[in-house]
Subunit: 350 residues, 2 copies
């Protein structure tokens, strides 16, 4: 495996992720490409279903670029979906009106029907999206690749979709931890291969989304969140030492600190409810932090948004910091409020 040449650290996002304090924090937004943008909705109508859209490099690259063109974020994140990996491994995936559906994986036969071999070729279009996006981005804008973290992807694979209680996946994990570990191991391998391919294609940063990290008790968090994340960061840091890895253990609460210390990520992304004082004192003292404006504030807009942005910059702007949301942009967000945010972030605080 050969790495992309490390980019000289001229891009603001890369500098912040490497621990540099910036007077104007670099920014991007989770789910910055998506339904709240009219140009995205028009583009989306060109593909039959969501999976086709994600695997069409022309459309996916255009979706990747749209928000940067409109708002000038410091980074683009490739337009894709964390469930492309289970699909690549052989699980049947459909997207309906109520979100993604996978044919749920059973405890028996477990991972028998899944194949890592050949899976990466299914994901080639994502690498092509990366090449096209990278070529089109302004010089100062970084390109972020991503994947779901093994635990989160496993929850979708076993539940078949979203879940309220995670009864199926936790039952399996609790009853047969070594059988479940085989699924986590497979996903860990797949994630390393997938992110390596993304980096080789031109991703300059990668983010691991562990959206359901917050539903596991500590022992499970150690085993299925921290341990596989550490394996992924160890492998990627060996192959691509210059590429920062952002970890996002959404909802980790009291376990955020262990995640930040023990996983080897370069930066930690904070959900909406992580207290800013805690983030500054316990996390930012050790690594770059990213986050964590409540996405609802982009619906609210106005002075409320302005005040919250100043508070967040004041709290975390004294150290290495990437301005972002604590969760994805909501579909009902007025684009003009994102424009206002861009304006607010365009200057040093005073």
């Amino acid at each position: 495996m050969t790495g992309a040449q490390p980019e000289p650290l001229t891009k603001p996002l890369l500098r912040a992720l490497r621990g540099e304090r910036r007077r104007r924090p670099p920014w991007w937004l989770m789910r910055q490409a998506g339904r709240y943008l009219p140009e995205y909705r028009a583009l989306r109508a060109q593909a039959r279903d969501f999976v086709d859209f994600c695997l069409n490099p022309a459309l996916a690259a255009e979706a990747t670029l749209q928000p940067v063109r409109r708002f000038g974020m410091d980074a683009a994140i490739i337009f894709a979906d964390i469930l492309l990996v289970p699909q690549a491994l052989g699980q049947k995936l459909t997207f309906g009106d109520d979100g993604p559906r996978l044919q749920p994986l059973d405890e028996t036969p477990g991972i028998q029907g899944l194949r890592l071999e050949g899976a990466m070729s299914h994901l080639d279009p994502v690498c092509e999206t990366i090449r096209r996006s990278r070529a089109a981005l302004p010089d100062e804008t970084a390109l972020i690749g991503f994947a779901g973290a093994p635990w989160t992807v496993a929850t979708y694979m076993v539940e078949g979709g979203g879940s309220r209680d995670f009864g199926r996946v936790k039952s399996w994990a609790y009853r047969d931890p070594s059988g479940f570990q085989a699924l986590i191991d497979l996903l860990t391998e797949a994630t390393i291969a997938y992110l390596s391919a993304q980096i080789s294609a031109g991703a300059e940063v990668v983010q691991l989304f562990d959206s359901w990290a917050g539903v596991l008790p500590e022992e499970g968090f150690e085993r299925w969140v921290i341990a596989p994340t550490r394996r992924i960061t160890a492998a990627l840091s060996e192959y691509f030492p210059a590429i920062p890895i952002i970890g996002f253990p959404r909802g980790a609460g009291l376990l955020y600190e262990r995640y930040a210390i023990e996983t080897g990520v370069s930066a930690v992304s904070l959900d909406t409810v992580v207290p800013k004082g805690f983030a500054r004192e316990r996390l930012q003292s050790r690594l770059a932090v990213q986050g964590n404006l409540d996405p609802v504030l982009l619906i609210t807009g106005g002075e409320t948004l302005e005040r919250a942005v100043i508070e967040l910059r004041t709290a975390l702007g004294g150290g290495p910091f990437v301005f972002n949301l604590g969760h994805g942009v909501l579909p009902q967000t007025p684009p003009e409020n994102v424009a206002m945010l861009a304006q607010l972030l365009s200057k040093p605080l005073d």
Copy 2:
């Protein structure tokens, strides 16, 4: 307002909540009366809809007693629903297959259509449920009353039901904090009146369910979780100094400690993901703790359940502790696993 006479502290639950360490921890389970019990499903079929069921003291008292009769928990919790309060205040409530629906409250006219006056008479049947349940319970079994905490009830009132992003309620709260405060204040008053009535009718402990405490950033948590809870505990402690108040700020994560210290609750209920070491060192050193077995373990059963129960008792049994789940019993729980839990909890650890 005159208080019920305090019960002499002979009941194990009351002793633990007052800070006493018990060799065998008292136990009960959130949602211990409910769909996983065949006798509940038979009883439920006797009322047309769920609201009618909750407001029928004969049926609701029987539902309250069923799990205690079968498993011998140390406490019964009255069968009711947190959304009876908005209904009593004048908001239209229906229960469908997809959960509760309220006619969503709008920012304007806000609380204008709601009335505290007369609301308590709508809740009289709940007090009658309490009188009947109390009269039928064994001498050593405590009776728990409850209410939703103001923030959580407000989320349902504004969203109209469950929510993924809490966009409506947070938008209102962020954009017009003083208008939203009027709703929180109304619910705080209603909760004080409602819990006072429950205690006067015979509830020996009350629990405040703040199920959505975990979606608020720190400033909102202070304002809409901690502050109203403190007002409720201050009022109840004045009227009924002997009645313990359990607070359950589900998902509060890094803010659990502030909740435990600042709200004035007698005991704090821990969700599934609160680390046991943190609970022992930072919370149990100050007040009784309750929780926090993962409800999925009651689906798993077997040695996995047994091991988890021993671990939890070992971790928290050295101080004031009420054994419970970290969330409600799941509908797909086999009752025989609850029987196994009862057996495991029937003796001191060694």
